[in-house]
């Protein structure tokens, strides 16, 4: 499946529709060059250069990224999107000129897809490339209207009504599906910039567009298979050797290639990565990622379909190529998931290094001393945590040190509604350099920063209450 004649990529069948045939089977190559905001900045460019892609997807939005973007937008109405994307797009520009069939689908729009799309169009000025924005996911301006209309937005786990934290909400976004992405592509968009959409839908959209999968029961299994493909590549290198339990030096993670799903019309696909890159694609890396951040693998909920991952079959067909078949529909829901973020106080975490015999116990005691000093100043925190990292405290009480480690990292973290109290806490690390135990060091980075806490409130809303909007810039 991998060895195509040179130039095949350029044999586009028509504008906005990139078709390629091999052995009579059309496939669409969708590569994901970014798994989260903060992922490697060169990966999208390398993947676009070497991946022989039809579509490059870029995923920027973790659960709480939206709250940070919402705060930025509140300060500056032109902000509120993943700014890294514009830098990446500028570097992609020559590649997009060189490969006219290559399209980009990204959720970099965050809280401001229209603003991001306008800037993206500016970056691509002169190329003739069309940029579209997908919006309608932002429910924050409509929150009171929705509550009044009988959408309670109860917490998905606890059932508590949103009213409990309504006055502290900073963002509320529905996870849209692939349908508006398909609409944008049908309108001739080469770059689709969305707000909050389900991560897997960034892949389902291009596949559904290319193969005319409608969002109906007749195509539901194919949407499910596309969802499996999207789920597997959405975290970037996590399916190509990143986090693989058996990775070692021979895996060359320093040169890790980012993933490509090569999808066929029936929804079957292969997972691979560009030739010559580091990392690994095998049945272990794909199986680990298949179950990553999944609850019931027989019911993986997305806006497009409820996908059954237990019908998926994996088969390594050659080095760094895994064929994936199966992946079926377990139905469809009439609701979107909503990700709500609300202000929940302030937090800070600081570290010191404690060396010498009994380092773990001395570190834990040092943490207690820091909290005690603050208690003497009249402050008790809503929550505090002391860790001796290197002595098993990463999974506290579960993994224990089998020997006396020569040094450990002391980490103390607090959370409290009072910003001033948390600021006071950040000033109690330095004194231990002289007043703590022998072997105390590592106070080189200064006072730890205080940051605001945004807590996560998952909810559901009827699909009928949300209208996805597509606009070509």
């Amino acid at each position: 499946m991998r060895n195509r004649p040179p130039g095949a990529l350029e044999s586009a069948a028509g504008p906005g529709y990139h078709q390629r045939r091999e052995a009579g089977v059309k496939t669409v190559r969708i590569g994901n060059g970014c798994g989260f905001w903060g992922d490697n900045l060169d990966a999208p460019v390398r993947l676009a250069q070497a991946g022989r892609l039809d579509y490059l997807t870029l995923e920027y939005l973790a659960e709480l990224t939206m709250s940070i973007l919402a705060v930025q937008k509140a300060k500056d109405p032109a902000a509120g999107f993943a700014t890294d994307f514009l830098d990446v797009l500028a570097r992609l520009k020559p590649i997009l000129i060189d490969k006219p069939g290559l399209k980009v689908v990204t959720n970099a729009g965050g809280m401001n897809p229209a603003g991001c799309a306008a800037k993206a169009a500016g970056v691509l000025a002169g190329t003739g490339r069309r940029v579209a924005a997908v919006s309608g996911d932002d429910l924050f301006p409509r929150l009171d209207e929705l509550l009044a209309a009988g959408h309670p937005l109860d917490h998905l786990d606890t059932g508590v009504p949103l009213a409990a934290i309504r006055d502290r909400v900073v963002s509320a976004n529905a996870y849209l599906g692939a349908e508006p992405i398909v609409r944008a592509l049908k309108l001739g968009a080469d770059v689709v910039v969305t707000g909050r959409v389900a991560d897997a839908s960034l892949t389902v959209g291009p596949a559904a567009y290319e193969f005319d999968w409608a969002f109906d029961d007749a195509h539901r299994d194919r949407l499910a298979a596309g969802t499996v493909a999207g789920h597997l590549i959405e975290c970037g290198a996590q399916v190509t050797g990143g986090l693989w339990v058996n990775a070692d030096d021979s895996t060359r993670l320093g040169e890790v290639g980012y993933p490509i799903a090569e999808v066929a019309a029936d929804g079957s696909f292969t997972i691979t990565k560009p030739d010559g890159t580091g990392g690994a694609v095998n049945e272990e890396t794909v199986a680990e990622q298949l179950l990553y951040e999944v609850a019931d693998p027989a019911r993986y909920y997305t806006p497009d379909v409820v996908a059954d991952f237990t019908t998926v079959r994996l088969r390594q067909t050659e080095r760094d190529v895994v064929a994936v078949t199966g992946g079926t529909s377990a139905g469809v829901t009439d609701s979107y998931k909503v990700s709500i973020a609300y202000r929940a106080g302030y937090t800070a975490a600081g570290t010191l290094v404690i060396a010498g015999p009994g380092a773990a116990e001395k570190a834990r005691r040092s943490g207690t001393i820091i909290l005690e000093k603050i208690r003497q100043a009249g402050i008790t925190f809503e929550a505090a945590n002391v860790e001796a990292l290197g002595a098993g405290d990463c999974v506290p009480g579960v993994v224990t040190a089998t020997a006396d480690p020569p040094e450990v990292v002391l980490r103390v973290a607090v959370r409290d509604p009072r910003k001033a109290a948390v600021e006071r806490f950040t000033k109690e690390f330095a004194p231990l350099v002289t007043s703590g135990f022998a072997g105390t060091t590592g106070y080189t980075t200064g006072r730890p920063p205080v940051r605001e806490v945004f807590a996560y409130w998952p909810a559901l809303i009827a699909k009928s209450a949300v209208t996805p909007v597509v606009e070509v810039v």
Binding site: A62, E63, L64, D157, L243, W244, V245, N246, E283, E284, A287, E288, Q289, L290, L291, Y292, E293, V294, A295, D296, P297, A298, F309, T310, T311, V312, R313, L314, G326, A341, A344, T347, A349, A383, A384, N385, E387, L389, D393, C394, V395, P396, G397, V398, V399, R411, A413, V414, R415, V453, F454, A455, Y456, P458
Partner: protein, 111 residues
């Protein structure tokens, strides 16, 4: 037969879903998966991770990849944003579970 770490017969990966963690354990062989199915119960995993204080542990099967998926409800001390732990997202829970000492038949160890 001496106890061996679970990693002898399985690999895995873990992550977060809000304040819940998921830990996937994937057997290398069919016989290994049969052993996991019988012995790596939700109760055993709940006991192992009891210090993290999960409200309950649920086990799901993905026999197609020889996998068991454990959901540890409320095990992340508030989840990605609120937790004060270093590992706010439960990323290290899989490698922690793979350390679990298990008494498996000799033929499973010498795969």
């Amino acid at each position: 037969m001496p106890a061996v770490p679970l990693s002898t017969i399985a690999h895995g990966r873990s992550g977060d879903k809000g304040n819940h963690a998921n830990v996937a354990v994937i057997a290398y062989t069919d016989t290994g998966f049969a052993w996991l199915r019988d012995h790596l119960t939700a109760a055993a995993v709940a006991e192992y991770f009891a210090p993290l204080g999960p409200s309950r542990v649920e086990r799901f099967e993905a026999a197609n990849v020889r996998g068991l998926n454990f959901v540890l409800y409320g095990a992340l001390a508030g989840g990605a944003s609120r937790s004060l732990r270093t590992d706010t997202q439960g990323k290290t829970l899989a490698v922690a579970l793979l350390r679990m000492p298990v008494d498996v038949p000799d033929d499973l160890v010498s795969r």
